[in-house]
Amino acid sequence: MGKSRFLGEFEQLVLLAILRLGEQAYGTTIRQILLDVIQRDVSIGALYTTLTRLEDKGLIRSAKGEATAERGGRAKKYFEITAEGKQALQATRQSLDAMWRDVKLSFVGVKQ
């Protein structure tokens, strides 16, 4: 995996959120799942900055959705992970698993 495909921690979380949400992945739902599952309350600006970066890298793609009254008549922007995004996620997981193998937290002073 090249350096440009290295995924940061928040990028991984956003990609996983999109995978979990399937066809319902857009700003509000991604923010909500991050809050519900890992109690991480990110600002919508921080989330869209990451989504834009992932899209620029070709790891996700977006499509304009429907506008609803509760959104003030504004359209949603749905996100979908690309094959390249899935590969990057898988490669990052393998790298992390490889690094964690044979590591005990007591080695670095953390009580288990």
Binding site: G27, T28, I44, A46, Y48, T49
Partner: protein, 219 residues
């Protein structure tokens, strides 16, 4: 249950700061969530939540979308700081400030600009300058014209008012004591006019730069 709308000022702030392609989805997401949290939070808490999101989001995008405004403001402030520094070296800043000299150049020049172009064009020119975004060559042409007319009118008005001051001084040349201050004030008018012309020149060049690469025949 009476639902309230998101705070208008916070929304306007986001409209101003967000990139064009993110305005619709991001503002829509915020409004959707704002409506949802009203079911279990007080009106005040919802407003605070929206403001927090708006400020944090603006912080993320301000540098990205308002770079032109930051750089223009910085260059004008740098110019002002250098001018004040030069004034201090010349014996103090107080002798360089004369409100009437500014009043007889800038407001009439602005009126000329409005007469030659239009209030819409003037508003658009400043909007292009501060947002760093131009959409068409026509917009570039109109905006450049606004700054050209404003700067040149200011310069000519300054020169005219300076001459007017000299004529007044000439007619009372025997009163030597008043010649000095009167001469200083008349030259000050020209100095203000030249300063405004300089800023207008930089503004028009900035608009031309922003318009580079625009197609003469947009689809």
């Amino acid at each position: 249950m009476n639902r309230c709308s998101p705070p208008r000022i916070a929304e306007a702030l986001l409209e101003r700061v967000l990139p064009v392609d993110l305005k619709e989805p991001l503002l829509g997401d915020l409004e959707e969530e704002f409506q949802q949290i009203q079911f279990n939070q007080s009106k005040q808490a919802c407003q605070i939540w929206y403001w927090r999101q708006a400020l944090l989001t603006s912080f993320h995008y301000f540098n990205q979308t308002q770079k032109a405004l930051i750089m223009f403001a910085f260059s004008v402030l740098f110019f002002a700081a250098l001018t004040i520094f030069a004034m201090e070296l010349s014996g103090g800043t107080s002798m360089f400030f004369d409100v009437p000299s500014l009043i007889i150049t800038l407001p009439p020049a602005l009126v000329f600009t409005l007469a030659v172009t239009s209030p819409g064009n003037v508003k658009q020119a400043f909007s292009c300058l501060f947002s760093g975004h131009v959409e068409s060559l026509k917009q570039v042409k109109n905006s450049v014209m606004v700054f050209d007319v404003l700067g040149t009118s200011c310069l000519w008005l300054g020169a005219l008012m300076t001459l007017l001051g000299w004529v007044a001084m000439g007619s009372s040349i025997e009163e030597v004591a008043v010649i000095g201050p009167a001469f200083a004030v008349s030259v000050l008018t020209l100095m203000y006019a030249m300063g405004i012309k300089l800023v207008c020149y930089v503004a028009s060049q900035r608009i031309i730069y922003l318009g580079q690469g625009l197609s003469p025949h947009p689809d």
